[in-house]
């Protein structure tokens, strides 16, 4: 075991983690712990763009952006947070440009912007060009640029360190008003199998999403919701976990994402009859409606028998009317995905697509300064969260495309500043002598299963979990489907206790870590299902066939899920409404 001591420890080196590191490392002694090399983080997979009302190509303003964000999130958005997000957006984009990010340019040399789903001019009148982009690899360029700046600043990285526990000085579920603070984190070093303790005055969680609870997903294999699950296990609530975004255009059967930019650049969705069906669902902005609307429309077309292909289980994304040169310039990567993985030539053939699990709107609840909340009022001193792991909540029940790259930059920066400044004011808390006990215990137990009596395989349980989630908790949900999922996940959790792994080794034991990650996924799946069962309405990404309308009277509030000794306890938290009263959501 090795012990370390830092002012600020950042867990995760995606966009949010590195943006925070840039701020924090200038102010305080900072370490970044990441289970992947920073440049492997899934921020790099983001394609379409980053929203900001720069008004470089047409009239636009922050207020319209705020409105779109709130409406897009079906009014479950905390409006003060949305205001911050959109106001700081302009500076966030300009900051990245100054760090060297190679945005696409207008002929005048300014940052170019394009259309994206749900982003409109003047409160919904027409689609607006708000997404700043670098071809269809905006996230890649953000990740690279932030990493480069981290190199410039000599940020200290601990690569391939898996954070497996969070240490607080007290129980976060203790009475309101009491001081609960962070003491540090425990990490497992992949290359040696060693356990490291990090004492820290501040800890920032930036561990990204949890898409792997689903089978069909645009998320990486490594997006197993570690940060959320760790927080949950230590008694910190999770907010709005039932809201998961299903992105309309995943490559059929594979889930690999084709950015909304494809539609932003003019791509059209068609059913088996060749009909542009979005005209029926969203007459004004058609294919550029928000993702929940489009995903549901697609799933509905397939259900009503207008799906394409031998099994009639997907629809088509048609780019054939676009100039090949235009496609090459604006959408080079995603068209290559279609070629590589489906053997489809997008210049001449429409591409088979179907909704894919994409983004967790929910997560660890935070204030607008990224401080983690342990109930509706109190923060945990020194603990911060930013990025997809967090729920501020700027996305409400449905995130608008390009608002997440914005989120990680705005709130990543805020988290970095706040964490460092707090760290400079405190001595921090000492780790207890047995701080790493839980982790070493967990690791040793798993090692001991090699060749032992365990009969269950990690992969089998994971496959069943993902299949259940896809079948029952996807675009359409009912009380029956959720109940089925609930029972199944319960069974899987029981079976998980009886697993056996193969690899006893100390070095690069990825077998062991996959088992740990499955544990996280199982915990999170339960929270997602419970939240969805409880929310008897349809809103944004959560659609209950048995309750197909939005119910502001009973459910205009955030879900808060707490893990207690007796299982998950659900509670609610009010939504912050400042200017925009809920209205019917039409596009």
């Amino acid at each position: 075991m090795t012990e370390h001591e830092y002012d600020v420890v950042i867990v995760g080196a995606g966009g949010a983690g590195m943006r925070a590191a840039l701020e924090s490392s200038q102010r305080a002694k900072t370490a970044v712990l990441t289970k992947l090399y920073p440049t492997r983080s899934h921020t790099g997979a983001a394609q379409g763009g980053m929203a900001a009302a720069l008004a470089n190509v047409e009239e636009d303003n922050v207020e319209w952006h705020v409105f779109d964000t709130i409406k897009g999130g079906d009014y479950l958005v905390d409006q003060d947070a949305a205001q911050i997000l959109c106001e700081e957006a302009v500076q966030a984009v300009l900051d990245l440009e100054k760090m060297g990010l190679p945005f696409n340019r207008t002929t005048a040399g300014k940052i170019d912007q394009r259309r994206f789903g749900g982003h409109t001019r003047d409160h919904g009148k027409a689609a607006v060009r708000r997404a700043c982009y670098a071809a269809d690899r905006t996230g890649h360029m953000i990740l690279q640029t932030l990493y480069q700046q981290c190199i410039k600043q000599d940020v200290e990285f601990f690569n391939e360190f898996y954070v497996l526990d969070l240490i607080l000085n007290d129980d976060p579920q203790s009475a309101e008003g009491k001081d609960v603070a962070v003491a540090g984190v425990i990490a497992y070093e992949l290359s040696t199998g060693q356990i490291h303790t990090f004492r820290a005055k501040s800890v920032i969680f930036a561990t990204g999403g949890a898409g792997k609870v689903f089978k069909t997903t645009s998320n990486a294999h490594t997006l197993t919701g570690d940060g959320m699950a760790l927080a949950l296990r230590r008694g910190i609530p999770l907010e709005d976990m039932e809201f998961f975004q299903f992105h309309p255009t995943g490559l059929a059967g594979l889930g690999i994402l084709l950015s909304e930019a494809a539609r932003g650049e003019g791509g059209i969705l068609r059913n088996s009859e060749g009909e542009r069906f979005m005209e029926r669902y969203a007459p004004t902005i058609k294919d550029l409606a928000p993702r929940d609307v489009v995903a549901r429309a697609m799933a509905n077309e397939v259900r009503e028998g207008r799906g394409c292909g031998p099994n009639k289980d997907y629809v088509l994304l048609d780019l054939t009317h676009l100039e090949p040169a235009h496609i090459d310039e604006k959408l080079p990567d995603i068209t290559e995905f279609a070629r590589t993985y489906l053997g489809v030539e997008p210049y001449t053939e429409p591409v088979p697509v179907f909704p894919t699990a994409h983004y967790a709107m929910g997560g660890v609840p935070t204030t607008n300064n990224a401080e983690v909340l342990r109930n509706n009022h109190d923060t945990i001193k020194g603990l911060y969260a930013a990025g997809e792991v967090a729920c501020v909540s700027v996305h409400g029940s449905n995130r608008l495309g390009t608002n997440s790259l914005l989120d990680i930059n705005v709130f990543g920066r805020r988290a970095g500043i706040a964490a460092a400044e707090y760290a400079l004011t405190t001595e921090g808390y000492d780790l207890p002598a047995d701080a790493s006990a839980l982790v070493s215990d967990q690791v040793e137990k798993l090692r001991a299963t090699v060749g032992g009596g365990g009969t269950e395989r990690v992969a089998d349980i994971r496959r069943e979990l993902q299949a259940t989630m896809d079948r029952n908790v996807q675009v359409f949900r009912t009380s029956e489907s959720l109940a089925e999922a609930h029972t199944l996940v319960g069974e899987l959790q029981a079976r998980f206790k009886n697993i056996a792994i193969h690899d006893r080794g100390a070095r690069f034991n990825t077998d062991l870590l996959e088992a740990v990650e499955l544990g996280f996924l199982l915990d999170l799946a339960e929270v997602v299902i419970l939240g969805a069962e409880h929310r008897k309405e349809s809103r944004g990404g959560h659609y209950r066939e048995d309750f197909p309308t939005r119910d502001d009277k009973n459910f205009m509030k955030h879900t808060m899920a707490y893990k207690t000794k007796d299982g998950i306890r659900l509670d609610t938290k009010p939504v912050v409404v400042t200017k925009y009263q809920p209205m019917e959501r039409k596009y």
Binding site: E23, Q26, R27, I84, E88, K152, Q153, N368, N369, R413, R414, I417, A418, E421
Partner: protein
Amino acid sequence: MSTADATTPVVEPLRPIRSGRSRNHAEQWSWLFMRGSGVLLLVLIFTHLFINLFSGDGVNQIDFAFVAGKWASPVWKIWDFVMLVLAMIHGGNGMRLLINDYARETWMRKTLKTLLTACVATIVVLGSLVIFTFDPCPLDASGDLLPGVPTFCEDVR
């Protein structure tokens, strides 16, 4: 907290060059030389080979007299000299690159490079001496022409 509005401190510019390695552009010159000499060598060697092996009677014509005949002309003397020097430096430099690539231990590198330099130097010196002190009509101890000298030697006498 209003911390998020705090301005970002300016980052000190880094030392201009971090890499502590030597840089006297030697490798650039070597690279340019390889290309320059390559082109020249192409002309020199192909002509050389053409004359020696292809034209006339091919390889069979080569003997002392043939060499003497060629070197009677200063053009061929210079030609062969330039070719010799360029080829040896080009080849020698090429061998140096190989040594750099394959010999990992410093002592090995050093030894090989010393050997190489010695070898190239000897060959260049020896070759130049031969070309420029060449006597087409050497005499034996008794003052007679050695056998095998070109026929024109008779006239010279």
